[in-house]
Symmetry: C2
Amino acid sequence: MFTQSAKSFPIPSIQRLPVYLRFLKEQRNRGNILISCTQIAEEFGQLSVQVRKDLAITGIAGRPKIGYRTNELIDAIENFLGWNRKIKAFLIGAGSLGSAILGYEGFVEHGLHIVAAFDVDPEKIGRAIHQCPVFDFQKMLEMGQNAGIEIGILTVPSAAAQEAANILVQIGVQGIWNYTPIRLDIPQEIVCEEVKLSASFAVLSSRLKKNAIFSDEYV
Amino acid sequence: MFTQSAKSFPIPSIQRLPVYLRFLKEQRNRGNILISCTQIAEEFGQLSVQVRKDLAITGIAGRPKIGYRTNELIDAIENFLGWNRKIKAFLIGAGSLGSAILGYEGFVEHGLHIVAAFDVDPEKIGRAIHQCPVFDFQKMLEMGQNAGIEIGILTVPSAAAQEAANILVQIGVQGIWNYTPIRLDIPQEIVCEEVKLSASFAVLSSRLKKNAIFSDEYV
DNA sequence: TAGATTGTTAATCGATTAACAATC
DNA sequence: TAGATTGTTAATCGATTAACAATC
C-alpha cells in the first residue's frame, strides 16, 4: 500500500505525446528501430531538450549517444496515456458532432471503444452510426449498470448536458469528455476534459482581425 | 501610419473570452445591464483578478465599485475577437467532421460564414450539407479567386491535408483552421490554428489510467 | 463616509530553455 | 578517443496570484 506520489505531469507535455507517437509509429513502419530526441525535435521544429523532458514523464530511459528504441518508446507512451488497453465508452448525443466522433477511426487506436450511443430522436434510435448502435437515452442508466463504462462522451445540445452528465455519474464513469460549452456540476473525483472549439476559433479569429487592422492602414 | 505594437496577448486569456461572452449574453438577456468581475469569477470558479486581466486585453474600461456595462463588455470582446464582422470561409473535406462543423450553428454567431464546402467524393458533390453547397475539390482554386475568403477549414484525411493547404494559400486565405494531425508547410504570415482532439483525449485518458493504478492497489 | 470594485505593480508558480556533467 | 546523445540542474520566461492604491 503506497500513496500515489502527488507530483503531476505538465499538461503541455501530455498533449504533445500523441504527436510524437504518430511520428514514432511512422518511423517503426519504415524499419527505424532507434530514434533520438534530436530527430523528433527536428521533425516538429522543437528543441530536443523539450522532447526529452516530455518523453521522460513516461518513465522511458534512453541511452546516451544511441537514443531510444522506437518500440520501447511507443510502448512507454501508450502505457503512460493508457492507450494500450480497451476503454469502454458511451456517447450521448448522436447528432453531427457525435457522428463525427463515432466515425473517427483513430480513436480505436487509442483504446477508445464506444460501445453504444444514445439519443432522444426516434429517427436515430434503433439505427447504427458508423457501426455503433444508437439506443434510447431513457435506456442509458439501465444499460450502464455494471457495464464497465469508463468514459462518457457528451455531444448533446447544451440544454441537455447536465442531465446527461448526472446519469453518467450514476453509471459510475471515471471520466467525461465534454464537447458542450457547459461547466458540469459533477463529483470532484470524476475527471472532466473539455473540448472548446470556440476557444480555438477565438485564437484564430483574434489573430486575423489584427491582420485586417494592419492591412487597413495601407488601403 | 503606425506600427502594430509587438505586444501579444496571453493565449489562455484569449481562450477564456468566449466563455465569458456566453455568460454575458445570458446576463444581458436577463436584463442585467451591469456586471462585475466578481460575479463572472464566481460563475466559473476563478479569481476575479484573472477575469479582470483577461477582460483588459480587449481594451475595455470598467468603473470602480460599479463594474462594466454588460453591453459594452460584449461589444469589446466581440470586437477584440473579430466576431462582430462577417468572416468568409471555405471548408475542405465534407466527411463526418466537416458535416459536424457545418452543422454547428454557434459559429455563425462568431461571424464565421462557411460559403462553400469541397470534396472529391462524387456522392457529395452537388448536394448541400446543412444548407452549405458542396463542390468538386477541383473547382476550389477557381472559385476562390478574388472571393474574399479569409479562412480555410481543413477537415480532410491526413493524406490530403498538404495539397488542400497549398490551394488555400494560392486563394490567399489569411488563416487555416486545421483539424488534421498534419503539420502544414505554409507561409509564415498565414495564421494556423490546430485542433488536436488526440491531445485532449490524451489528457483525459492519462488521468484515468492513474485512477486505475490507484484503485488496483485496493482491489 | 465606508465598502466594493477597478487597475496596477510585485511576488509566486510552472513551463521552457540554457548549461553542463555523464556516458556509450 | 572524440563526438553525439541522454539526463539533470540552473536560469529564464510568461502566466497566475497577491498586495495595494485609486475611485465612485
